[in-house]
Subunit: 344 residues, 2 copies
């Protein structure tokens, strides 16, 4: 057996570690035929494997680690905790043993490992986190949503190229419509960062439509929207929380009438289909785009299915040769690099 893809799975990160994480790894190995390195406390992982009757599965390999990164500890700690499951998993990728890293652990720490252990792809200045948000017609990639703050115009230009590549290669969007997040539609509206980035984006040759507004994130008018990671992170967390608050407030109103309660029961299947569409565990995690190898960060609440889906996403990045296309696109769409190659 010669699996096409091998994934280093941090089995000690996330609210349901290690049980659900290991189970997710097992599901992925069985469903996709991938090699999965299960990194973490050997004994605990073996127990889970035994309970699942998967001790002998040759696609699964336990890689022992000795410490864990807590969900709340400072992310940079991971660089000192070289025996932690996350660090060890990152090293497997760096050393070429594994093709991709998947973790449900401390997001900041996963980012640190992605940036400094796995490292950035050639020509990529700042790997960034891209999230594909649902809209009525499809998905909109918003990036960066938290890997970088105080970004410079040249970084936003790279985010645009990275987002373009993600939309095209992974989401299958032809000629993605790219926008820059701002306040007001017209060129010239926005803060200093937006005003300086806008003309650079026009020069790239990307399908740049101009300013996008907050309302465009869920409108379906753009396939890719770039912003600084501070803004993107706030938007993402606000969205999660608003969805929850809306459901809470609707529930409170439903409680006030028995007719509404009956109505809610009848609507349950429709609600559940909607929730499935909006559910993070269906998405399979958020990629750190521009790392040398795929790094997939899942929600801390990830269950086995979410982990399986995250591993699937990692596999798609590999089978689509995402990084190769990203480097080609950076060369093609970066104004200075274009000029340089014309000069040759």
């Amino acid at each position: 057996m010669n699996p096409s893809v091998s994934v280093a799975l941090d089995c000690m990160g996330g609210d349901y570690a290690p049980h659900e994480i290991v189970k997710g790894g097992v599901l992925a190995a069985k469903k996709f035929g991938y090699k999965v390195f299960l990194v973490g406390e050997e004994e605990s992982i073996n127990k889970v494997l035994e309970s699942l009757g998967e001790k002998e599965n040759s696609l699964l390999e336990v890689v022992p680690s000795e410490e864990n990164i807590d969900m709340h500890e400072p992310p940079s700690n991971v660089l000192r905790k070289k025996k932690s499951s996350l660090y060890v998993a990152g090293k497997l990728v760096r050393n070429g043993m594994a093709d991709a890293l998947v973790s449900a652990g401390n997001t900041g720490a996963v980012l640190v490992v992605g940036k400094f252990i796995v490292g950035a792809e050639e020509l990529v200045e700042r790997p960034s986190i891209g999230v594909a948000l649902p809209n009525p017609n499809g998905k909109t990639v918003l990036l960066d949503v938290g890997a970088n703050v105080d970004s410079k115009p040249k970084h936003l230009v790279q985010f645009a190229i990275i987002g373009h590549t993600y939309a095209q290669e992974i989401l299958g969007v032809e000629n993605p419509r790219v926008g820059i997040l701002s306040i007001g539609e017209e060129e010239g509206k926005g803060n200093e960062l937006v005003k300086e980035t806008y003309p650079l984006l026009k020069e790239t040759g990307l399908n740049f439509l101009g300013n996008a507004e907050g309302r465009d994130i869920y409108s379906g008018n753009f396939d890719v929207i770039v912003c600084d990671g501070f803004v993107g992170n706030v938007v993402l967390k606000t969205s999660e929380s608003l969805g929850f608050a809306v459901l809470q407030m609707i529930k409170e109103e439903i409680k006030k009438s028995w007719l509404a309660k009956v109505g809610a029961v009848l609507m349950m299947p429709a609600f559940n289909r909607f929730k499935k569409k909006a559910d993070f565990s269906e998405y399979g995690g958020i990629p750190l785009l521009g790392a040398k190898k795929p790094v997939i960060i899942t929600h801390g609440r990830a269950n086995a299915k979410a982990i399986r889906n995250a591993i699937k996403v990692a596999g798609e990045f590999i089978s689509q040769d995402f990084n190769k296309k990203l480097v080609e696109n950076i060369k093609m769409f970066t104004p200075e690099l274009k000029k340089a190659s014309v000069g040759n």
Copy 2:
């Protein structure tokens, strides 16, 4: 008759101008006994007044104007269009004829009039837009949501004092819990602006709880959250659009089953109560806080009820003597001013 409050109402701004705007002015005059200056095309306004049988109401005074500000024209145009309804209404406030300005027109242009015609209150460096967003337990004031971009730390400190005053005096919150919008809870997390502002906020003596995250905007953990106007505007517009997208997606799912359709009908009253809670027209517009006199900006889609509510809000600012308290608070909570007064 000696009305306690007089309001300059821009009758030509908004999607339903002038009819709904004039009607809103009439409702406010009748309900609250306020004097309302109806600024706009004399003939059109008189027609509406006639149709409502209010031609003789002495609380209503038509002030003619000769041009309008389009919803999509550059906001600064208003400073050249001195015969526009918005400019004329602003002048009534500046000259002391009216106590407050209400407009459903071009938001940017209303801001320009608020900042430059009405002007900023003593000690206020940058008037800012505050919006009271619903949470399961009450409201959270988010500011600034679009009046200022590229704010400096000292501006965010003022936003905090302004928001504190708004929450305390208008929303009736005792000792409002103040936060600064960031990514990550701990001190030291965030971008440069947040890191520089944090220690200044600690010095104010406000009830400063530290960093708020995107998810806190709708959680009810804070009464006031400050941010730069770029970020706040994006958050606000994202929220509006997400609410809409969620309802759209749920509707699509409901259409797929007749049982769900029946359920939706039974739930309608509960849904409507929720919508009422979330509806901008119930809020009565968003104040430009820190202008010399109250300036209330309503949604472009404002109907008569929204206008009536906006005028009511203007009246509350006046009857609460908001600006006087704001100036007192700026003196009390601004670190440098505190030191200066101790030095006296």
